[in-house]
Symmetry: C2
Subunit: 239 residues, 2 copies
DNA sequence: CGGTACGTTGACAAGTTTCAAGGCCAGTGG
DNA sequence: CCACTGGCCTTGAAACTTGTCAACGTACCG
């Protein structure tokens, strides 16, 4: 299935609840107005449906509007690794700029809404709007730093540190979006978390139990309450 | 010390031996001519000297012209991880676009020459030359993919696979630059390799010895000959 | 009320790190 | 020229973390 888009629905970034977080956050009002004209709204996706298919040519960038998604990197041998989880306002698909080809499969974790910016419209806009060009480059640089940070984390941190870091990061990002930093409702399975952190699901489960025993978390399946944020933060940050 | 640059020396990218590998590789001759005017040649650096200081503002992108360098990512807690080794023709400093701030220290591994492209000159050029803009964005996308690939590697691969992958990658990159794909003269120490691969130097040493015993390599300190490239490639690629 | 996917827990095995000792090479000064 | 020193590299044995295999418990959905 091709990711359908209601091409000619009016989109208003300025009126969007995500405008403080999303692409327009650092654009001027006139720039945002011009960007709006290039943005299409996609038809909602069901949980498990693909927003981006690995192997497809880069035709558009996507922005999560509601729900959440995971990026799955596929190596030649067939092993998959989840490279990231995406929350509303986050731009996905940037890595495809390397070869105009998507190497990641992006899959909805729950019913999801999204926006779509075709590159054939983005290109001339980057020419016309220096602010938008800088913003795309900034986002690429940010993704690069995040990937490098995660790379270090995979190398240096043990299971407890990785899981603590995951929870702290998720908590922070949810808080940015106006949700509780304490009460997390995970949209991904233990298997997904384990894959993302390069652990086994058993280790994730055991480590969550250990945090629970230590009084740092209250865990009930995918509903997690952070009781000792500073303990988690110390573990994730301090080697 | 500020990284000195002989600002007004004439630079010719078209006459440079690296032009097939470096930034101009995908630019048109007219675009390359304009780019040349923005490029400065830096004063050679001694081994161990910093090309980029972590914490400094982004003022320029750098290109390795001769010798080699390592990028060291610094986390808050003080642990350092080598994020990559850089050969002639490679652009370094891109990750600073995230916050106009360099988070990596880039250090020469041996006497090194480099070029420098100030961002205040690059900005207007990206505006004027769509090809250069696309090329910078492509390079960012490529760095992002490489960082994600390495992230997966740290997670999924064991010591033998990581080291095999490291050697295969280095061999390929040296070959692109007209050097032997078989005879590698490592410019980095075992400690650096271990740090880069998130292993201990003992494990690197042991694994090299294992490859030697298997008849895959001839190892003499930093001089390495690859005897069975396909064995290394199979190990690095096949999970 | 099963059936199935998800999650938890335990015992054991494997791979890597840690700790410790020793070898090799280059540069230095007697 | 030689011995000495310090950095780099190699190798061995023990300890630890995580993966593997297996069993069991739990929520969700027909």
């Amino acid at each position: 299935m091709h990711c359908g888009a209601d091409a000619r629905v009016e989109v208003s970034c300025r009126g969007c609840a995500l405008s403080r977080i999303c692409l327009p956050a650092r654009l001027s009002p006139p720039e945002t107005r011009l960007l709006e004209q290039a943005v299409e709204r996609g038809r909602p996706l069901a949980a498990g449906a693909s927003l981006i298919h690995a192997g497809r040519r880069l035709q558009a960038l996507y922005v999560v509007r509601g729900g959440s998604a995971k990026s799955i990197g596929l190596s030649i041998e067939g092993d998959e690794q989840i490279l990231g989880f995406h929350l509303p306002g986050e731009v996905v698909g940037l890595e495809a700029f390397a070869r105009d080809l998507h190497l990641c499969e992006v899959v909805a974790l729950e019913p999801m809404r999204f926006c779509r910016i075709p590159v054939r419209r983005l290109e001339p806009l980057m020419q016309a709007l220096p602010g938008l060009r800088r913003e795309i480059i900034r986002l690429l640089g940010q993704s690069l730093q995040e990937a490098q940070r995660q790379r270090s984390c995979m190398g240096l941190a043990d299971a407890r540190q990785r899981l603590a870091g995951f929870l702290v990061d998720l908590s922070r990002r949810l808080e940015q979006r106006g949700l509780s930093a304490r009460q997390l409702r995970l949209s991904m399975s233990r298997r997904d978390i384990a894959n993302h952190l390069a652990l086994t699901l058993e280790t994730v489960s055991r480590t969550l139990s250990a945090f629970k025993r230590a009084g740092w978390l209250a865990v009930r399946l995918r509903q997690i309450e952070i009781l000792q944020p500073q303990a988690l933060a110390a573990l994730s940050g301090a080697a």
